[in-house]
Symmetry: C2
Subunit: 412 residues, 2 copies
């Protein structure tokens, strides 16, 4: 533990340019292959490692898993977490597409492998867009061949655009992590949901690092960092068929991540994941505000998360925040139905730091000040359960009429 503290104290993290290709050893290409109808709209990206990388993936827990999810999971199993590339398309989720969909997802990995000179199992695949529509596989194959012949370093921004569906803005971030034993970089990009193609709020995330990390440790760090970032956000409580989060470690920096440097890797992953996760919330369909719901003094972290998630997904809390109504009663009611036991008499509720509920009683004299705070574009809701020492934060967004408009318009 002493070593860990020393490393943490002597590690610094600074933002850098370059997105997913900021770390050395990664190249990317992005182009319009013709999945999206709009001419020139980027809809295909290939990320390639110069040599080989440790790979890790986290996937949707939905029973309905898209073909690319099934194929990528299998490939990670077969290679035990090593690989050379990831291919991603937007505009079509390749979900609920049966055997043809699985064949198309495999075909995408085969084409990349053939172009790069590796095995198909060393290629991962991700798709995002409309459910239940077949990929125009000939166009995708032609696009993959073109992309693989034009891979370049430092072209991460195009890739971040190529994975967007209805996202109002691209989401990428990169940092340099400086440790007592050398420095390495981490770059990342992600996509969420937006406004024009209202089918599935499919989250995809990609992280690259030039640290040298064994696959098992990379998976552990990815899972740990996702817990408090990508897995701590909600736009509408919906879990999609395609959610995937990938990490790749090229090792090019020469910095070997062992138990001593693990905290530095984890901090780095958190540093790139947090802004991307918040970006997904801020760009959530119809969202006008980010809501950070923090639950303190719970018995366990799981209970804190459960209460925070119930509040963040409550349509009555979300509409109250949208209307700048400091309606602590809805927060208390949502906490009370979260399925966690606690003593309501010991609960306190704060909005933007202003105490609104304590000892079972309201402080409505502060409501006007809280209403002012609710007009900001980020709102903090804090609840103490007065039970234990555990805490958790979930980031959500408000519910607006625009969400209804986006998702109520027919696909045709």
């Amino acid at each position: 533990m002493a070593d860990v503290m020393a490393v943490t104290r002597h590690t610094s993290i600074a933002p850098i340019d370059g997105g997913i290709t900021a770390p050395t050893g990664f190249r990317s290409a992005a182009l319009h292959c013709g999945i999206k109808a709009k001419a020139g709209a980027l809809d295909l990206a290939v990320l390639a490692v110069d040599t080989f990388a440790s790979m890790a993936g986290l996937f949707t827990t939905n029973l309905a898993q898209a073909a690319p999810v099934l194929v990528s999971k299998r490939h990670l199993d077969v290679t035990r977490g090593t690989g050379c590339a990831i291919v991603v398309n937007s505009g079509c989720a390749n979900a609920c597409t049966g055997e043809e969909g699985l064949a198309n997802a495999r075909r995408m990995t085969e084409e990349v492998a053939s172009a790069l000179g590796c095995e198909p199992e060393q290629v991962l695949v991700a798709s995002t867009g409309v459910i239940g529509v077949a990929l125009p596989i000939d166009r995708v194959v032609a696009g993959i061949q073109e992309a693989c012949s034009s891979l370049a370093h430092r072209k991460g921004s195009e890739a971040a655009q190529a994975i967007m569906t209805t996202d109002p803005f691209p989401k990428e971030h990169a940092v340099r992590v400086t440790t007592p034993r050398g420095s390495f970089s981490i770059g990342a990009m992600a996509k969420g949901s937006g406004m024009i193609e209202p089918n599935m709020a499919t989250m995809l995330g990609f992280i690259a690092t030039d640290a040298q990390v064994a696959p098992a440790m990379l998976h552990r760090a990815l899972a740990e960092s996702a817990r408090d970032t990508f897995n701590a956000i909600t736009v509408d409580g919906e879990c999609s068929t395609n959610d995937s989060l990938f990490a790749m470690a090229s090792g090019n920096s020469g910095v070997v991540i062992d138990e001593e440097l693990y905290p530095a890797l984890l901090d780095g992953l958190l540093s790139v994941s947090r802004p991307l996760a918040l970006g997904i919330v801020r760009g959530g369909e119809g969202a006008t505000k980010v809501i950070a719901v923090s639950v303190y003094d719970a018995n366990t972290v799981d209970e804190a998360r459960q209460v925070a998630r119930t509040i963040a997904n409550s349509p009555l809390v979300k509409t109250a925040v949208h209307g700048a109504d400091p309606n602590w009663g809805r927060i208390v009611a949502a906490a009370g139905r979260a399925g966690v036991r606690f003593d309501m008499q010991r609960v306190t509720v704060r909005i933007g730091g202003i105490l609104l509920f304590e000892n079972g009683l309201p402080h409505d004299e502060s409501a006007a000040r809280a209403a002012e705070i609710l007009k900001r574009d980020t709102v903090d809701i804090e609840i103490s359960l007065g039970a234990g020492n555990a805490s958790a934060t979930i980031w959500g967004c408000d519910l607006s009429a625009e969400y209804v408009r986006i998702n109520g318009e027919y696909r045709t």
Copy 2:
């Protein structure tokens, strides 16, 4: 079992007028006591039994339980399910109001008891409205005194209006149950219409019958009938602080409900509860359509209910139905995240009887016909899990911009 079948076969149920006061032995009064700001808006009702009645109650499972819930539960315990009256106010939930709130709820029962000549414990109390605001108890007490002096038979409709908050219409229903051993009546009223996923929700329901039923059997029948009616609906997945469903049996008809006649009582309760529960959904905040989600071929009823509830509460399914989009992909994705294990390849999805998903593949050629059906004001969504023989139905409603408007502006 033979007796039960015979009774069921020879029992007929017919709708009658009169709402909650249709059965003999019940009187009611309703008036504006001044909780609601709008002049003349009914906000107080008293229901009284001519002599004494068996009483039963079901209450919210929310940890945050309003003062009237706590008081009514205690009174039912003390009297072991007997009583003489119920007092209800709208416009103020008397929830999160501390000791003062408890004292006010008790005071309401004391005033009724004093006016009617019974014990306070023989009076139940319910409140609905804004959370965290104290009752204007002096006005309420004056109102109770006036109401108790003007109790009358056949005035159920005014009571059904007096319990409304954001409900767009009053909800009451009554039936005459004719059995081989005589006939009795059941009358009922309920209110919605936001914070509705009754377990129970800001749902209040009241049922009166002139059958003669022991308290334990009345409670059993009430719980059994609620499972597939008031506890099978959802407007927004929110479980409120005040949900209460009361039943009173005066015995005035002389028909004694024993095990043989229990099915007739249960059928009667279902007959009045079903239209009220559906009325709550149809009058749900911002609702324009009722959605009946039926899950078939599940392993257990609980699993069928869990899948149906997840679909009925999915904001993406609710907005798709609002926009008349036959978006089976969202239905499949919601089913897949419900926390129930099944084989997605065996799932079928139908909207309005039209098959849209089977063997893991879409039937999009039928989408246009399904879109037409979605324009109706009641929509059936049917999912077979292909696993077992259990089934369940949950009734929900669509999500509209009006829901956002209502709840973004409720207090401010």
